[in-house]
């Protein structure tokens, strides 16, 4: 038993930090800002990572990846999220769209999509949630009606992150409303510039680009754009999302912010109220447990217990996100509400607090995670 991330983990971490400090401007808060330069920064950084074999680090080499280990991938995930995800929206293509195409895609789909993702040349979005189907995805209403050798898709998606930036979408639609829930859906790999697609941004406290509506009005879909088999979308979606079940390394962002805030405060840190410093300790304790739960989930790979382990890790990490957000707001006092370059840590704390509110909602609510853990513990008791 050991908790060593591998002989080259330290070097990889250093290299990633070097690249970030050299190529990512101070005060960078991710691609989802009002400044279009931030998106451009992520695009050039993805290409840089790709050129060093670091973007698709854990992908097999045959698909343009680096052939790295799951622990190297873990280091990459931690360093990227700790530094406000300088890959921008492309992390999604790397983390689950690509692996899903590897498993379910046709040879033509693999040839078309994998090298583009590995090269850092494409942004994907995920067309799953709908106004009437959020957590309960199997009940979504967007219809794909047979039309010639393909389908016409009509409906509405909502909360679709990066839809304005994306050139491609993994779109879930109902191909057979009479079938059981598990056989109703089909996944399509659709270009976002196809006629009939309209994106409308939703203003939100999270900031621009996080939330969008996507309207689909008779959008044409071709047979060779189906990922997996027709009617098998629910299974593909569930299994594809399992590639990313550990989720983003929220604990790493929290530890980073606490570290930066402590450095920024210098000797003033010792003058913080004792109650605040004790909360600081507790936050670090909880973050360590969250990190170890994530490592446990990663180590279980495809074992049956991996799903519940990942849900436990997500519950721990997302609650830490909010715990740290509140702690840092209390540390800052009134200036916590300031945003922009002149705000503490260039606005990173204010940004974190806003984004942390979504931590227990996005990518599977904390209630769903609790249900999954409870099912693992309680089993089928009837």
């Amino acid at each position: 038993m050991d908790y060593d991330l591998g002989p080259d983990a330290g070097e990889l971490r250093k290299r990633l930090r070097q690249l970030i400090s050299t190529h990512i401007p101070a005060g960078f808060l991710g691609a989802c800002t009002d400044d279009p330069q931030d998106l451009a920064t992520t695009e050039s950084f993805c290409k840089l990572l790709a050129s060093e074999g670091l973007l698709a680090l854990a992908w097999p080499k045959e698909h343009g990846g680096g052939g790295g280990s799951i622990w190297q991938q873990t280091v990459l995930r931690e360093e990227m999220w700790a530094h406000h995800e300088p890959r921008g929206p492309q992390y999604m293509g790397i983390n689950w769209v690509g692996p899903a195409v590897m498993r379910y895609g046709t040879p033509e789909q693999k040839a078309q999509h994998l090298s583009a993702i590995a090269a850092g040349e494409v942004i994907w979005c995920q067309g799953f949630s709908e106004p009437e189907a959020g957590t309960d995805l199997a009940s979504l209403r967007t219809r794909a009606v047979p039309d010639g050798d393909g389908w016409r898709i009509t409906g509405q998606k909502v909360w679709t992150s990066y839809a304005q930036m994306a050139s491609r979408c993994v779109l879930a639609a109902c191909t057979d409303p009479e079938a059981s829930k598990s056989r109703r859906l089909t996944l399509f790999l659709i270009p976002m510039d196809r006629p009939g697609i309209t994106v409308r941004p939703i203003r939100s406290m999270l900031g621009p680009h996080h939330l969008n509506e996507v309207f689909l009005d008779g959008v044409q879909a071709f047979r060779d754009e189906v990922l997996g088999e027709v009617g098998d979308g629910w299974r593909v979606m569930r299994e594809a999302l399992a590639f990313e079940r550990v989720g983003i390394a929220r604990y790493a962002r929290c530890e980073s912010l606490l570290d930066r805030m402590r450095a920024e405060l210098g000797d003033d840190w010792d003058r913080l109220p004792e109650s605040i410093r004790a909360r600081w300790v507790r936050a670090l304790v909880d973050l360590r447990a969250a990190r170890l739960l994530a490592y446990r989930a990663v180590s279980l790979l495809d074992e049956p217990s991996a799903g519940a382990a990942a849900s436990a890790a997500r519950i721990a990490a997302t609650t830490c996100d909010q715990q740290v957000a509140e702690l840092l707001f209390d540390v800052l006092g009134p200036s916590a509400l300031d945003s922009g370059a002149s705000a503490p840590l260039h606005g990173a704390i204010e940004d974190h607090w806003r984004y942390a509110q979504a931590a227990t909602v996005a990518s599977g609510t904390i209630e769903v995670q609790r249900m999954l853990v409870a099912h693992d513990v309680l089993g089928d008791h009837r």
Binding site: W280, V285, L292, I315, M371, A374
Partner: protein, 312 residues
């Protein structure tokens, strides 16, 4: 990285759990409150398991074996000061005490004692007599000599770590009991486990126990090159987390078992009453957190951003 217990340790853990359970578990612990033979049998069993042949201070495999043995002791509410005897100094059991109000669990047992506080200051304790306490029925008040030097910081750390493994075992057993109860107890025409509020409470308790388990494994197998101050911070982190988890899981257990959980017929009651001293003493979670504050400043409370760059 390999987060699973080595096979031989997992096998020893299974044997220890079975052997200690055969003593009678919490019901035997309850009997021990009035019958000293149970505590003597507990020691005999521990001896047969090879507990006191373990070199817990310097052989990493033996430390791990001691950890899983403590976990089994926690799960069965074993009425014996196992951690204290595993860390005996010159044949005298080592008790961690709060010097302001010294208490020693099982301090009435025959044999000598050494006491130390969390700073490692060593005392010669004079244990008093058992009281009729409900919480910590084997806890005895003690008086301490003037300080008599120190015990190694590593002993204090290991005491906290092994005690946390005992707490872990107790909490895992509580969760097991609660799970069985809510699956079978029918109210309003359906098992309690069908109610979402119950599911959520079980899930949160499970996350707390899982997190403690991972932290316990991580802490007990830190590499030998880890600086002593970091190891001390690690031990405090684990005990703080164990005590927090204990409060949460025991509260959930009582709530979900209802009145049954307060009765000594229920193992939850015994596990709770007998485990209380472990996570309340020698220091509250508030004090443990205060002790860790300097570790934030000087980096001994490690994070991903500690220098040098941590590899785990």
């Amino acid at each position: 990285m390999n987060t699973a217990l080595p096979e031989d340790i997992a096998e020893f853990a299974a044997v220890a759990a079975k052997r200690l359970a055969r003593l009678g578990g919490p019901s035997a612990a309850l009997q021990a409150e009035t019958d000293d033979r149970v505590r003597r049998e507990a020691r005999t069993t521990l001896t047969e398991l090879g507990a006191f042949d373990l070199d817990v201070r310097s052989a990493s495999d033996d430390t791990l074996a001691a950890a899983v043995l403590c976990q089994a002791a926690g799960a069965t509410a074993l009425p014996y000061p196992l951690v204290e005897e595993l860390l005996a100094i010159d044949g005298e059991r080592l008790a961690l005490v709060n010097p302001e109000t010294p208490r020693i669990d099982h301090g009435d047992l025959p044999g000598g004692w050494v006491a130390a506080d969390l700073d490692g200051t060593r005392y010669r304790p004079q244990p008093g007599s058992r009281t009729s306490a409900k919480l910590g029925p084997f806890l005895v008040p003690a008086t301490l000599s003037e300080p008599e030097g120190t015990v190694p910081a590593a002993d204090v750390d290991l005491h906290l770590v092994l005690g946390s493994w005992r707490i872990l075992g107790a909490l895992q057993q509580c969760l097991e009991i609660v799970t069985g109860h809510v699956r079978t107890r029918v109210q309003f025409g359906k098992p309690l486990a069908d109610f979402q509020a119950v599911k959520f409470a079980v899930a949160d308790a499970s996350v707390a126990v899982r997190g403690l388990h991972e932290l316990a494994k991580y802490t007990v197998c830190r590499p030998e090159i880890t600086p002593a101050q970091v190891r001390s911070a690690d031990a405090l982190v684990l005990r703080l987390r164990a005590a927090d988890a204990a409060r949460q899981v025991l509260r959930t257990s009582h709530q979900l078992l209802g009145a049954l959980g307060f009765c000594d017929e229920s193992d939850i009651s015994v596990l709770d009453r007998h485990t209380e001293p472990l996570f309340r003493l020698p220091a509250s979670t508030e004090e443990l957190a205060l002790r860790l504050i300097p570790g934030v400043r000087d980096g001994h409370l490690e994070t991903l951003f500690s220098e040098p760059v941590a590899t785990a």
